[in-house]
């Protein structure tokens, strides 16, 4: 008898974790897969989306489980998962995190918001939504988001035995960081216990979320030969706000002395300047604000600022859009994609 609650046509129960580099989704995926393989005797595979992604860039981690008599031969990314775990809410803006989710699938979101808000942003018509405030748990326990998410995922994958993960946590930390064992077990348990569920009725014959394999923007008829790019600086259309992990710099213009210390250290060229006249009528550059579209929340500028013009701010949804001062690039009309 299979212990897996659901299987696709190849016999797999599939989980996809959606995150950004640095939150530990990859490790969580590995621990989840390992637990299934070792403590339950399932077969499993685990891998991540690959590329030169840096910290803060979107990443996916995939877990496949199957019964011991099934061969795992599929190497391709998971397109129609039974469970999606969203580690970072800001991803909704740029990534279709629920793409291909089964109609009776479960989506778990790390969020401090309500079910209905999250559902609205995910455009989830029906199915089960699970929410857990993993960030708050991690901040309170001084641990990592991924451990709290693992707790919640264990609750969802009820065929897994949470005690086996507690063992893994003990083994991982006891030797080198014994003081981290208890907080991590608490984090895991809190994730497990604090996750909440709400099911939006699945109508008869409902279909899962559609998925599409994204086609490249260009093809062999439209690429310049040799891969040359003639659209210099077109990365300015990218939105990097999703790289922030909860904090951003707050700018108070009245306290600013326009010294450019922030501009000198900003890796992402977020500071917007304009020429104006000083009190004596001389032409000077004045700092107008921050283009949060590019701000990854490193807060180097806050360190560099000699006054209190720049400060740390726990980011609330909507703040960046509301306070963004747009960079004034010399746009060409019609030049967009």
């Amino acid at each position: 008898m299979s212990i897996l609650p659901k299987k696709n046509e190849l016999g797999f129960f599939e989980i996809r974790l959606e995150s950004i580099g640095g939150l530990g989704a990859n490790l969580a995926g590995k621990m989840l897969a390992e637990a299934g393989v070792f403590s339950l005797g399932l077969k499993g595979s685990n891998f991540s989306s690959y590329g030169s992604e840096k910290k803060g860039s979107p990443v996916k981690s995939f877990v496949r489980f199957c019964d011991p008599d099934v061969e795992i031969r599929d190497h391709s990314p998971i397109e129609q998962p039974h469970i999606v775990g969203v580690f970072h809410e800001a991803l909704y803006k740029t990534v279709n995190v629920v793409s291909g989710l089964n109609a009776d699938g479960i989506v778990l979101v790390n969020t401090a918001r309500d079910f209905d808000d999250v559902r609205h942003d995910l455009q989830l018509e029906y199915g089960a939504l699970a929410i857990v405030d993993a960030l708050t748990i991690a901040v309170e326990e001084k641990t990592k988001v991924n451990t709290a998410m693992l707790g919640a995922l264990y609750r969802i994958c009820d065929f897994l035995d949470p005690e086996s993960m507690r063992d893994v946590i003990r083994k991982t930390f006891t030797k080198k960081y014994p003081h981290l064992v208890e907080p991590n077990i608490r984090t895991f348990d809190r994730g497990y216990n604090e996750v909440q569920f709400k099911t939006y009725d699945v109508p008869e014959g409902a279909e899962g979320k559609k998925f599409t394999r994204a086609l490249p923007q260009l093809g062999y008829m439209t690429q310049e030969i040799g891969g040359v790019i003639v659209a210099q600086a077109n990365s300015i259309f990218k939105d990097l706000g999703g790289s922030r992990q909860g904090f951003l710099p707050e700018f108070q213009q009245e306290k600013c002395i326009h010294c450019a210390a922030c501009d000198n250290v900003c890796p992402d060229f977020c500071f917007v300047w304009e020429e104006g006249e000083d009190k004596r009528g001389r032409k000077q550059m004045f700092l107008q604000g921050i283009d949060y579209q590019y701000c990854k929340g490193c807060l180097k500028c806050v360190e560099a600022c000699p006054t209190d013009a720049l400060g740390n701010l726990r980011e609330l949804i909507g703040y960046a859009d509301e306070h963004r001062v747009k960079q004034n690039f010399p746009y060409l009309s019609g030049g967009s994609y």
């Binding site: 391709s76 490249p216 260009l218 439209t222 659209a231 210099q232 990365s235 180097k300 746009y331 967009s336």
Partner: protein, 764 residues
């Protein structure tokens, strides 16, 4: 691979345990169990992890392989060859252009007959650069004279690494062996894998190191290795080699049979899936063959007799077995993750066709498709599509299109890339606020710059929207340098974080013209660009302003592997700038140690544990090496001292335009791999300067000037006040590591005192 489950309990099968690991981990595991003598390596994605895992195991005392971080793959191949020539056991791992960079050495190793094992973690060869997997690197290996095993799964990677050494050392073979497995698909996907509990089982299987051939080993038995030959002799040497590699096919069968008895896992020459009665088949290498088996099952359920042929060894090529397997197959599609451009089909297509040529009865229609290049995913629907083509050929009795690509798309003309901003050039980058003049009296430049506030109106050279990590130090450093440069720049970015994060196709963060080349060769490449530009101008074929500045941007990794190219360029004196951003490691590939990594610092190849404490040797003094080429201007800089850096940018431009080559080094923070807080990047590099680890100075026409002396400003701090900010150095502050810290302090002090002496004496 077939697991003989029922045999697991029978006699002869050694005790095995399960783990959940990737192909790279299993290659490292096999190497550690064999306990090779030497690994010479250079990091390249996706093979890098093999050396990393071995370093981690070494840190825990789990093997004693001497791991030697080379200056590039060519150097790594040299280390391996030299070591193999002593009869020592040697292993390496590489991928893609790393393999191509060492390829000159491959036939040397096979032609002079020194066994070793190399894991080729297959990846696309540049250009354009693509870090993901295909077989274009592997296809360059086909003619090198190495035996080539192909491993489809992490389990096969482990097993074949053990078999490979035994085959390599066999008295009938004595050739180096490649174990090739798919980058990412096999190297990084984790699976349940069995391995021998006791390494002695592995060591007994591979046996004692043979000593019955000629080595550099015994002074009482001196030998000459590598005498040159003429054709009369050369052809005989190569005939021996040809015989040896065919022998390897026979030896593979023997070794695989012996290994099956020990492990319970069988590796036939060909992995045949449902081929007994197949009408249509796909011939695929490695992971794709696994994925396609699921589709065979689906087709068979529909009554279509489909099958898969996938070799476990491709050198020697199993022609006879393929002939037999295809005897009654009506249509075969050879799917290949590489092309042999212009050859009407990639290499293995021709080898399969040639195998069939010798069977006069054979009627198989052979189609050839190039697919999955650059790591393009291979889904079940793709395998289905390939089968559909073979079925179509079978039904028609001919192939409409014997050779084609699969998976390419024309693209939508509506979505063509269009310029998004007005090209910024020339006057856009001229503020007129920076004044550089040669002071005739001192023979040094005098630079005046405005308050930095005034320079905020000058556009950045690099656009927002690049993909660097939060808090990355590269771009603040580069832009402060560029602030000092007026007018146009043409840049060359060598492979590294700055390149990768600014040019993810079809996006670019460069406003002015940028060219990439691989990091062995950026300096030479830009010298060619510059000279051609000048020559075109001299001949009146282009009309452009005089003041374009050519800048080669590199990381410290690029100044390791590309050191020869950089020194050659400096010695030739081209009018260009080489600007290095030094983050003390190969951060783009996951924080391996570079020669610029300081003593004791932790990286992914210089771990901290009971048997080693971080990097074993001192940091490279690249600025002094470059100063020794007697170029007119060398400098160091940091974002923590912005005016100093902007001025140096202005001087660099003047020297590059008027005299010759300039080299500059910026110390920049890498919070991810320094394991430091994103926000402290500037603070940390400032501390590095104030601790005299990274003194700010310039060597102008041979004379050294310290441009900021922390002692004079009463700002000097102990090294520990810098090191305390970073997770990678926290261990150095512990009592047990005091001797390392003291050694590091002594080296920093020695270099600082020497620098001060140079500052005080223009003749030094």
């Amino acid at each position: 691979m077939a697991i003989l489950e029922d045999k697991l309990t029978t006699q002869g099968i050694a005790e095995q345990v399960s783990t959940f690991e990737s192909g790279n981990e299993m290659a490292a595991m096999a190497a550690a169990q064999i306990n090779y003598h030497i690994m010479g390596y250079f990091p390249i994605t996706p093979s890098t992890e093999v050396a990393q895992f071995l370093d981690q195991m070494k840190t825990r005392g789990e093997h004693d392989i001497k791991l030697i971080p080379a200056d590039g793959e060519h150097g790594s191949a040299g280390i391996c060859y030299g070591a193999a020539a002593t009869g020592a056991r040697v292993i390496n791992a590489t991928s893609a252009n790393g393999f191509l960079y060492m390829i000159e050495q491959m036939p040397v190793q096979s032609g002079t007959r020194f066994p070793m094992v190399m894991n080729l973690v297959t990846r696309s060869v540049s250009g354009p650069l693509d870090i993901r997997g295909d077989h274009s690197d592997l296809y360059y290996a086909l003619n090198t004279g190495w035996v080539i095993l192909t491993a489809k799964t992490p389990q096969a990677v482990y097993d074949m690494n053990i078999m490979a050494l035994k085959i390599a050392e066999h008295s009938k073979v004595r050739l180096p062996v490649i174990v090739a497995y798919d980058g990412f698909f096999t190297s990084h996907q984790k699976r349940r894998v069995e391995y021998f509990n006791d390494r002695r089982v592995v060591q007994q299987f591979v046996g004692e190191c043979p000593t019955d051939y000629n080595f550099i080993r015994d002074p009482q038995k001196p030998v000459t290795i590598g005498a040159h030959m003429s054709g009369d002799d050369f052809i005989n040497n190569h005939f021996q080699q040809s015989e040896a590699i065919y022998n390897a096919g026979e030896v593979f069968r023997e070794v695989a049979a012996e290994y099956a008895k020990l492990s319970g896992r069988e590796y036939p020459v060909l992995d045949l899936y449902k081929m007994e009665d197949a009408d249509v088949a796909l011939f695929l290498l490695n992971s794709a063959a696994e994925s396609a088996k699921d589709v065979v099952d689906q087709l068979r359920a529909k009554g279509i007799k489909a099958g898969i042929i996938s070799p476990n060894i491709i050198r020697p090529f199993p022609a006879k077995e393929i002939r037999e397997a295809l005897k009654n197959v009506k249509a075969l599609l050879v799917g290949e993750r590489a092309d042999s451009y212009g050859a009407n089909g990639p290499n293995l297509t021709h080898e399969v066709k040639s195998a069939l040529q010798d069977d006069k009865e054979n009627q198989t229609i052979v189609l050839s498709r190039v697919f999955g290049l650059g790591g393009k995913d291979f889904y079940a629907t793709d395998a289905q599509a390939l089968f559909d083509m073979a079925i179509d050929a079978m039904d028609k009795g001919r192939a409409d299109k014997p050779f084609d690509y699969y998976g390419h798309v024309p693209g939508d003309p509506e979505k063509i890339l269009k310029p998004v901003i007005m090209p910024q050039h020339g006057d856009a980058f001229k503020t007129g606020l920076i004044d550089v003049k040669m002071d005739e009296e001192t023979n040094k430049l005098k630079v005046k710059i405005p308050p930095l506030r005034a320079l905020t109106g000058k556009p950045k050279r690099i656009a927002s929207g690049h993909g660097a990590c939060p808090g990355c130090g590269i771009f603040a450093g580069l832009e402060l340098f560029f602030k000092g440069i007026e007018g146009d720049v043409v840049t060359l970015f060598q492979t590294g974080c700055a390149y990768v994060t600014t040019t993810g196709y079809p996006n670019t963060s460069h406003k002015q013209t940028m060219i990439h080349n691989l990091f062995q060769n950026g300096a030479a490449t830009l010298s060619g660009t510059l000279e051609a530009f000048m020559e075109l101008k001299r001949r009146g074929e282009i009309e452009v302003a005089d003041d374009a500045t050519f800048v080669m941007i590199t990381g410290d990794g690029g100044m390791d592997i590309g050191m020869g190219s950089a020194i050659g360029t400096a010695l030739r004196g081209h009018k260009l700038i080489m600007l290095e951003y030094d983050n003390e490691g190969y951060m783009n590939t996951g924080s391996q140690m570079s020669y610029s990594t300081p003593l004791g610092h932790m990286t992914s190849t210089s771990g901290v544990g009971k048997t080693q404490r971080g990097k074993a040797f001192h940091h490279k003094d690249t600025a002094q090496i470059m100063a020794a080429t007697n170029i007119p201007y060398v400098f160091t800089g940091s974002e923590a001292f912005p005016q100093d850096l902007v001025k140096k940018g202005a001087k660099a431009q003047w020297y590059a335009q008027n005299v010759g080559t300039v080299y500059g080094k910026l110390l920049i923070a890498c919070p991810l791999n320094w394991k430091s807080d994103d926000r402290f990047g500037t603070t940390i590099v400032e501390a590095a300067v104030n601790s005299c680890f990274f003194p700010l100075y310039e060597v102008e026409q041979g004379e050294t000037t310290i441009t900021y002396n922390p002692e004079e400003k009463n700002k000097r701090i102990p090294l520990s006040d810098w090191l305390k900010y970073m997770g990678k150095t926290k261990h150095l502050l512990k009592d047990e590591n005091k001797p390392i810290l003291q050694e590091f302090e002594a080296e920093v002090e020695k270099r600082w005192q020497r620098l001060k002496a140079k500052h005080e004496n223009p003749m030094l």
